[in-house]
């Protein structure tokens, strides 16, 4: 009898424990939901507003430098606490949409133009016309910065920093091979890559994985061959055109002089291969400067940068991506705090420090930002003055898929979320389709995606 009672007692205890655990889990889930109203907690009795920010700049040193600016803001504004949650571009689309559905979206979400079109479709993005207008008057945004975020009569994000792609090359390998100048044309690019592919080293690294890295690199070449407009004036897909086919033909050639596993490479692998001497050239963004000396062991003067080579009859160009911040919160106090934070970030002294989270990768988007003492004082910006001139000059010629030549096509979100351009590249590189067939496939896939 005693044994039975003891057993029952144990069972009751375990049941109570399980039930309490479930209740606690529900309770903590409620607590983790962002409170729409400001919370309690400031020692001075003032309500503390918690601003949740999502950004996709994962490298710890970049995130740390962003955090310095956020902390400076919180120090100047003790009633606002900035809480940062770092995401990655590989899962940003689905995580954000899931968060919106769960009503657990961040208050401020860093973005790129095609991502904005997708998030906007949920109805959660708040227009920021007043703020953009105010900041434009004060700091003068580059037109290429605000354009991609303006459609349906509103600004849907505030531009924060720009990125573009250029040709990086190893001057030491060029000198070894007797090549005196970087290639300027596509023909020179292919012959240079061929000449530098020997003794276990590859001439170039162009990604061919199903990732944004491949999308951006193939588009970089499309931007120089007159194929930068993915849509015609009526919004129909025009991916299949002679300029795109030419760009794919070039890419097919370049892959022959790239390492065999480029079909699995994104952004990081080509850079690592460039640093460790496995490849002599790469088409990528300004972050190649940041760790060059430390990782490659070479001097600053030994890294070369040049405009992206152009085809015969082509034009100077590249992909240019203005990154911004979307306001998602519907709470007036949080909206006010978020706008105030953005104003703080764009003050030249703060802006220079913010943009130098990744010097040379993140470029200013305002006229006074380019003159900012803190931006210019960064050791990387100072050390790589010649390389920076090329980057700044090239940023004037940038285009972005779905937002080219001053036009905005919000349907691009459905295309870029599926990395259809990258898939078309894979059709060519992996399945050995011809460039024309791969482009045709891409055209059909894009039309299907935006139906």
């Amino acid at each position: 009898m005693m044994r039975i009672m003891f057993r029952r007692g144990i069972v009751w205890f375990l049941m109570a424990l399980v039930s309490m655990s479930m209740l606690a889990a529900c309770g903590s889930a409620e607590k983790s939901q962002p409170k729409q109203a400001a919370g309690e907690g400031s020692t001075s009795g003032e309500k503390v507003i918690e601003l949740r920010i999502w950004h996709m700049e994962e490298p710890p040193e970049w995130a740390a430098r962003f955090q310095e600016v956020f902390d400076a803001y919180s120090k100047a504004n003790p009633n606002v606490k900035v809480k940062v949650e770092i995401q990655n571009w590989g899962t940003a689309w689905e995580k954000t949409l899931a968060a919106v559905q769960a009503k657990n979206q961040p208050d401020l979400l860093f973005t790129i133009p095609d991502f904005t079109t997708t998030v906007k479709s949920t109805g959660i993005v708040q227009p920021v016309d007043d703020l953009v207008s105010e900041l434009n008057q004060k700091h003068k945004f580059l037109p290429s910065a605000t354009g991609p975020y303006y459609y349906e009569g509103h600004h849907w994000a505030v531009p924060l920093y720009g990125m573009l792609q250029v040709l990086w090359y190893r001057k030491d390998f060029f000198a070894e091979a007797g090549i005196v100048a970087p290639p300027k044309t596509w023909e020179e690019l292919v012959s240079t890559a061929k000449a530098l592919t020997k003794n276990g080293r590859y001439g170039i690294a162009v990604p061919a994985s199903k990732t944004m890295a491949t999308d951006q690199t193939i588009y970089t070449f499309m931007a120089t061959s007159g194929a930068e407009d993915l849509f015609d004036a009526s919004g129909n897909v025009r991916f299949d055109n002679p300029g795109t086919v030419k760009a794919f033909e070039l890419y097919n050639e370049l892959v022959k002089y790239s390492p065999p596993d480029v079909t699995s490479w994104g952004w990081g692998e080509p850079r690592d291969a460039f640093y460790n001497g496995s490849v002599a050239m790469a088409v990528e963004k300004g972050w190649y400067l940041g760790d060059w000396e430390k990782t490659s062991g070479k001097k600053p003067a030994e890294i070369g940068v040049a405009p992206v080579p152009v085809p015969a009859g082509g034009k100077n160009g590249s992909i240019y991506i203005p990154n911004g911040a979307m306001l998602l919160s519907q709470d007036p106090q949080k909206q006010a705090a978020a706008k105030d934070l953005i104003r703080f970030i764009l003050e030249p002294d703060n802006y220079g420090r913010f943009v130098n989270a990744s010097p040379a990768l993140f470029l200013p988007l305002t006229e006074d930002g380019f003159q900012s003492k803190t931006w210019l004082a960064d050791p990387i910006i100072k050390t790589y003055g010649e390389q920076m001139k090329v980057l700044v000059e090239q940023s004037k010629n940038g285009q972005l898929y779905g937002f080219s030549n001053g036009k905005v096509f919000p349907a691009i979100g459905k295309i870029s979320a599926q990395n259809i351009m990258a898939q078309a590249v894979q059709k060519m590189v992996v399945e050995k389709s011809s460039p024309a067939e791969a482009v045709k496939w891409g055209q059909k896939a894009m039309q299907e995606a935006i139906k």
């Binding site: 069972v11 049941m15 479930m22 949920t122 994985s209 079909t263 992996v430 399945e431």
Partner: protein, 309 residues
């Protein structure tokens, strides 16, 4: 206890309703209702709508999504890839696990340490497994290609995860490496449950090691292998993480199994209604397979009892 009949010769005592067992399972049932039943019913509901981006509203479209899915070339292509994936994993994992279990059941020197180290791949988180193997198989810096070229087995590095011909078998191998220890541990327990006297008696009768394995070990392990066959097949079929982390369904769709297809349809192509329909169809396939498997196992079981009697 209540007395139902007052007949002096025959009293039926019906026990009062026992609420205690139901109270015990109630928390678990609530948990299952919240984490399984609710999402399942929501998914079925979504499958009848044209909801695009998750969280947005859609309209009722009847069976249109099911028609799209069943007539979709990519869906069937992914189903075929999933079948190959399951077969590859089944063969590799069963073979490796059985060989490991048989080896470990022998008392060789260091077998206890070997048993401990066997589970090492199993305890490594899947994300870490994907990163480790991704680097090991790298064409430029990977140790696998380095060793293969050093011993002249290959002339130049291979892109194991980047070629359509090798990506799926490579991913299956990595998944096997990660999960076979679990199966090995289960099979080892099964082997250790076989009475030693049966082996001794067979040795007296002149049976060699192979004969003992075929006529004693394998038949004795049949119930365990049979259970693992069903569970393992369902688990393998639903594997998403290692495939997506290694290849994202590439290169060029070569490893786009049904879970990857459904994920991409829902969260990349923003067609959550269609993705839900695909997942319902897939669940029905698996349910049909499970029922068929259980039925054929239960048909075989009575004849086995006659054989061993």
């Amino acid at each position: 206890m209540a007395v139902i009949s007052t007949n002096r010769h025959h009293r039926v005592h019906r026990r009062p309703f026992q609420w205690f067992p139901y109270l015990l399972v109630a928390p678990l049932l609530l948990w299952i209702a919240g984490t399984v039943a609710y999402p399942l019913l929501t998914a079925v509901g979504l499958s009848f709508t044209n909801t695009g981006v998750v969280g947005t509203d859609g309209s009722f479209v009847g069976l249109a999504n099911y028609k799209k899915v069943l007539l979709s070339g990519p869906f069937w292509a992914s189903a075929w890839i999933s079948l190959k994936w399951v077969l590859l994993n089944g063969v590799l994992q069963t073979g490796l696990a059985l060989a490991s279990a048989v080896l470990l059941s022998r008392g060789f020197r260091g077998h206890k340490a070997a048993r401990t180290w066997l589970i090492a791949p199993w305890v490594i988180p899947t994300a870490a497994v994907a990163v480790i193997w991704g680097w090991m198989l790298s064409g430029t810096l990977g140790v696998v290609n380095y060793l293969l070229t050093a011993v002249h087995l290959i002339e130049k590095p291979l892109n194991f995860l980047g070629m359509t011909s090798t990506a799926l078998p490579t991913a299956a191998f990595i998944n096997t490496w990660h999960w076979f220890p679990f199966m090995a541990v289960v099979l080892l327990a099964g082997i250790q449950g076989i009475p030693a006297e049966i082996y001794e008696a067979s040795a007296v009768d002149g049976a060699n090691g192979m004969q003992q394995f075929i006529h004693i070990t394998l038949p004795s392990l049949r119930p365990v292998v049979s259970a693992m066959g069903l569970v393992g097949t369902l688990w393998s079929f639903n594997v998403f993480d290692i495939v997506y982390l290694l290849t994202k369904g590439g290169p060029s769709g070569a490893t786009r199994t049904l879970p990857v297809y459904i994920y991409e349809k829902g969260f990349k192509a923003f067609a959550i209604g269609e993705a839900a329909a695909a997942s319902v169809v897939t669940a029905l396939f698996l349910l049909t397979f499970a029922l068929w498997y259980l039925r054929s196992e239960s048909r075989q079981a009575p004849s086995e009892r006659r054989d061993t009697a």
